[in-house]
């Protein structure tokens, strides 16, 4: 079935209009036919009245010639008269030798009989003749009038009616389509708006027409749902942010005291104090990342100042910085591509790139290769990081962007927040980070071009 409601409504209206108008036409045509036949029958009666006067006199053949002549132009006249012994008395020339077509041979007590027969000279039988059979005194009379004129009217009318039927139905269908399209336009707007809505677009709701119709009411209900979901998401976010935030002061205190203890001893930190400090640092890093992610996803990062940056320059700088790490691990790290300008905050963009590089380095074994390609593609500024790891199965291509999701295939534990942060940064600029797996994993950072 067609997926457009507009088209379905239009087709339904078209079908209904066609059926209704067709019924009407059939009715009108039947009434019309009936009326005309009655009129013709009246004329047959009139002719019969005239015939009564001349019947049995010597004027009969003259009358026949005259009447047939009168009728010749439009309505051809047929006549056949027989006496009581069924002997032919008179007959117009257009009646076939076999006799008047369709006579029943009624007897004198019976009522006059009307019927219709095909014109003897009509090839396909479309032309018809209306006939009357009766007894006038001792004569058995059959007269008929060709329906040529009536039929011409009838066919003309039928043609006109059918043409207007089609016109009405097409117009009806088009109007239905137009009306449906008009009433459904808010639906398209709602769909477009809904598509652009994210958790962070606070306050943005679906458009209302204000007409109070079904669609408007649906938009109102959806808006209500949206607000409630947002409130819930906001509550959960705030909870995470508050929890992370509350950890900062105790962590600072723990770290400070441990550090002072370590400094107080002559030989520096004892092993377990050093381990404790490192653990606190891990926790601090984790809390900071979590807070950063919260900030990005709640849209607070959008207020940052933007400047014109060359993506390649920054990628190159970070690759140069991280090359020593790659070399330590026996991984070759290279960056190539072309300059492409973006408008963004340098620290954030660098953070996103670093996270992608970090991820790639952790998933590439010694002897492998990580390469970075920068350039403009399809109207976007693109940075692709391809690693020499084992790649990602299809179901993980999206999951790696979930918080705390770990494939556990790489070396060295990440916090499970690096990729989500990279994506959140890209999205805060209207871009995205996506993953494919053409062998190793390939992460593409896509950002809007400067302009």
């Amino acid at each position: 079935m067609n997926r457009s409601i507009r088209l379905r409504i239009a087709l339904a209206v078209f079908t209904v209009v066609v059926s209704l108008v067709a019924l009407q036409i059939v009715y009108v045509l039947q009434r019309f036919q009936h009326t005309f036949i009655e009129e013709v029958d009246d004329r047959l009666e009139e002719d019969l009245g005239d015939l009564r006067i001349v019947l049995g006199t010597d004027q009969l053949s003259q009358w026949i010639a005259q009447t047939a002549g009168e009728h010749r132009r439009e309505d051809e006249f047929f006549i056949e008269i027989r006496d009581r012994e069924n002997r032919l008395v008179a007959r117009s020339t257009n009646v076939p030798d076999s006799g008047f077509p369709g006579t029943r041979g009624i007897d004198r007590s019976q009522k006059p009989l009307y019927w219709t027969f095909p014109h003897p000279r009509s090839r396909n039988g479309a032309r018809e003749v209306r006939a009357l059979e009766t007894w006038v005194g001792d004569w058995h009379v059959c007269i008929g009038i060709s329906l040529k004129e009536v039929q011409r009217w009838y066919w003309g009318l039928r043609k006109n009616l059918v043409t207007s039927l089609l016109a009405i139905a097409v117009l009806g269908g088009l109007s239905a389509y137009w009306v449906a399209a008009r009433s459904l336009r808010p639906v398209a707007q709602i769909a477009a708006q809904a598509r652009s809505l994210g958790g962070s677009n606070e306050g943005t709701l679906l458009p209302r027409t204000g007409s109070g119709d079904e669609i408007d009411r649906l938009a109102a209900v959806l808006n209500d749902l949206l607000s409630r979901i947002r409130a819930e998401v906001l509550r959960v976010r705030r909870l995470t942010a508050d929890a992370a935030h509350a950890l900062r002061t105790p962590l600072t205190a723990i770290r400070g005291h441990l550090e002072l203890d370590a400094a107080a001893s002559e030989s520096g930190a004892s092993d377990h104090v050093a381990v404790a400090i490192e653990q606190v640092d891990d926790l601090v890093r984790f809390v900071n990342r979590l807070l950063l992610l919260e900030k990005l996803e709640s849209g607070l990062g959008e207020s940052l100042a933007r400047e014109r940056l060359d993506l390649l320059t920054h990628a190159q700088a970070l690759v140069d910085h991280l090359r020593v790490i790659a070399e330590e691990r026996g991984v070759s790290l290279e960056c190539h591509g072309e300059s492409v300008a973006i408008d963004a905050d340098a620290t954030q963009i660098r953070q996103a790139i670093v996270n992608l590089l970090d991820n790639a380095l952790r998933h590439t074994e010694s002897g492998g290769k990580v390469s970075v390609e920068v350039g403009e593609r399809g109207g976007w500024a693109e940075l692709a990081v391809v690693d020499g790891g084992r790649g990602l199965p299809g179901d993980q291509l999206e999951r790696v962007f979930e918080r705390f999701y770990s494939t556990r295939a790489g070396t060295g534990a990440g916090t499970g927040l690096g990729l989500p942060i990279a994506r959140a940064i890209a999205r805060s600029y209207g871009g995205d980070v996506t993953a494919t797996s053409p062998g190793g994993a390939r992460f593409v950072l896509r950002l809007p071009l400067a302009g």
């Binding site: 935030h245 002061t249 770290r255 002072l260 930190a269 381990v275 400090i277 809390v287 900030k295 790490i325």
Partner: protein, 223 residues
Amino acid sequence: MRVLVVEDELRVRSFVERGLREAGFAVDAAADGEDGLRLGLVNPYDAIVLDLMLPRRDGLSVLRELRSGGRATPVLVLSARDEVEDRVRGLDAGADDYLPKPFAFAELLARVRALLRRGTARPSLLEVGDLKVDLLSRKAERAGVRLDLTQKEFALLEYLARHAGEVVTRTMISEHVWDMNFDSFSNVIDVYIRYLRRKIDEPFEKKLIHTRRGVGYMLSATP
């Protein structure tokens, strides 16, 4: 040198106080904004460590009052929110430096020292034991032997030498030498420290670069 610490969180205040004292400073402490402002206006401090979120009077207001009261004392602002906005507002209100929580004490100490050093002439030749770092010609030598350093290695050595005898954290190094700070950079710093050790310490008996586990690194003639 006399330092005022204004911080309402006892746990944080206690170790900052203790640490600064152990580093040789005279330390006064206040637990709220009103107290802090009163002390700051009365006593001639060399530096003030000021938390932003304080009871009775918030940190920014204390800072403004101090400045409008004619006090030019260098102020290091602490904040539990590391948002750029906080940093900008703090600096606008007259703060000299900004440190987000959680922080390493070594970093707080280094920043306080940096504030106190402000305005004093910077030597162009730094000497740590028999190591000489010439900041003008960007050359370094140890025991008369010329050290062949890359640009990055020299920048790292310069930073360590400027803070000779002090512990510097990886965060401080990455912010000052690399001009940016990302978690994954701490590994990079470790690698460069290793490169530097290979050139500065390995050929000699006496080691100058010391690791303070869990804290950072220190360049010093005495361990």
